[in-house]
Assembly symmetry: C2
């Protein structure tokens, strides 16, 4: 039986740079909020993770290819060039909007490439090379520093087909289930559920977004009170190509 | 500045039937959980709303058409017949899976038609005729009974293109914003955000699902601590056809 769930913003994390000890900053921020508890899930915005991992490209140093020029329409071909480099396939494009499948297999706008202006430069922030590995590293280092096992989600804001607006989803997952499979369980009336899998890590990421916000510099939150320990991966949430009806 | 957010399951709501006073049951359940507070958002599963609104079809009384037989593959053609009646368009099908645009404009599996076995009959539960109106009615009646204004979301579990598993989304919305538009606002580094709209009502619905569960008979939850008062509608979350890249 699930009790109340709390979503707690982690404040006071400074602007991040390559090599910063993000886990230590998360542990400090959590300490200011009363400390971690045993089954906490820590949700961290992808942009924060990417910055400490050095996944930042200086726009001035990008040489766009001819296909980037073509796809850019009125937009910046250097940005499109970086999107192409991060993509396995362009799924749809309507300039300046590009929906791409990333090298990891995520289908999202701009292959997850985000504009930023770190230190006065126009830069682009790329997705982590391996978001599950990023989540694992944060998980391990938090355990080391805080002496407590927490789950970690590396989240990002994705648009959706057919629906307006973004919701945050889980790119990388460590220490928790990603999908909860209810197939074969019975509902409260005894009716057997079929093919029901809940993308619980995505819902946790979305819940965290409610307190994170893009405008107030809160790159992480704790989601507390869920019994979701497990060995799920962000990659579990990717629809296998052969089951994909929308490509 | 957003503080902590709490997600509180509403327990003890009995199996529902047409004409039941769902708002009164929600108010009672909330009272047992300490009562509503001023900016609470009450998330109610669509199935609960549909049942009290009588949106239930007895499978034995459905006469399938020939196109239902065709689309059903090995599945039950009566179920497909009901899906067709609830649909404006079949977006994709791979029997027995049917992705349809409902008469309201939602794109989802089976046009939102759900199997159930109310009172020993095999029945199908349809989406509410007008989920925003359902949310309005619950909102009004809760205000009347509890003397307090809360937001209401009527939620359902939808699959997504390219991602595994369902997340709960908002079909009907009353008293809160549905989309939060950040366009023109600046991030913590002063960088202006472009075309950033957050589907906040969907994230609230997903957060509520974390405590609702399909197997333990909790059809509603309170999401507390968000400042989201507004006049959003569930229909705000539908991608306008002309901007839809995936149909």
């Amino acid at each position: 039986m699930t009790g109340d769930v709390r979503v707690i913003p982690l404040r006071g994390i400074p602007e991040l740079d390559e090599g910063d000890d993000l886990a230590a900053l998360l542990v400090d921020a959590a300490a200011r909020a009363g400390g971690f508890e045993g089954d906490d899930v820590v949700v961290v915005a992808q942009k924060a993770v990417s910055k400490v991992e050095g996944r930042v490209v200086d726009l001035a140093e990008v040489e766009p290819s001819s296909s980037a020029h073509e796809l850019a329409g009125g937009g910046d071909p250097r940005r499109v060039e970086v999107i192409l480099r991060e993509s396995r396939e362009i799924v749809r494009s309507r300039p300046p909007l590009v929906i791409a499948e990333t090298l990891h297999g995520f289908v999202c706008a701009s292959a997850g490439v985000d504009a930023s202006n770190a230190k006065g430069h126009d830069t682009l922030v790329l997705l982590p090379v391996d978001p599950d590995a990023s989540a694992d590293r944060l998980c391990d280092r938090i355990r080391k520093l805080a002496g407590i096992g927490v789950g970690v989600i590396v989240s990002d804001s994705f648009g959706r087909a057919w629906r307006q607006g973004t919701t945050d989803v889980a790119l990388g997952v460590s220490g928790i289930v990603a999908l909860r499979d209810l197939t074969g369980e019975r509902d409260s009336m005894g009716y057997e559920l079929h093919a029901t899998e809940i993308a619980i890590a995505d819902e946790i990421a979305g819940a965290a977004q409610l307190v994170m916000g893009k405008t107030d510099g809160i790159p992480a939150a704790i989601v507390r009170g869920l019994a979701v320990e497990g060995d799920g991966r962000g990659s579990d949430l990717l629809m296998p190509r052969e089951r994909d009806l929308f490509r």
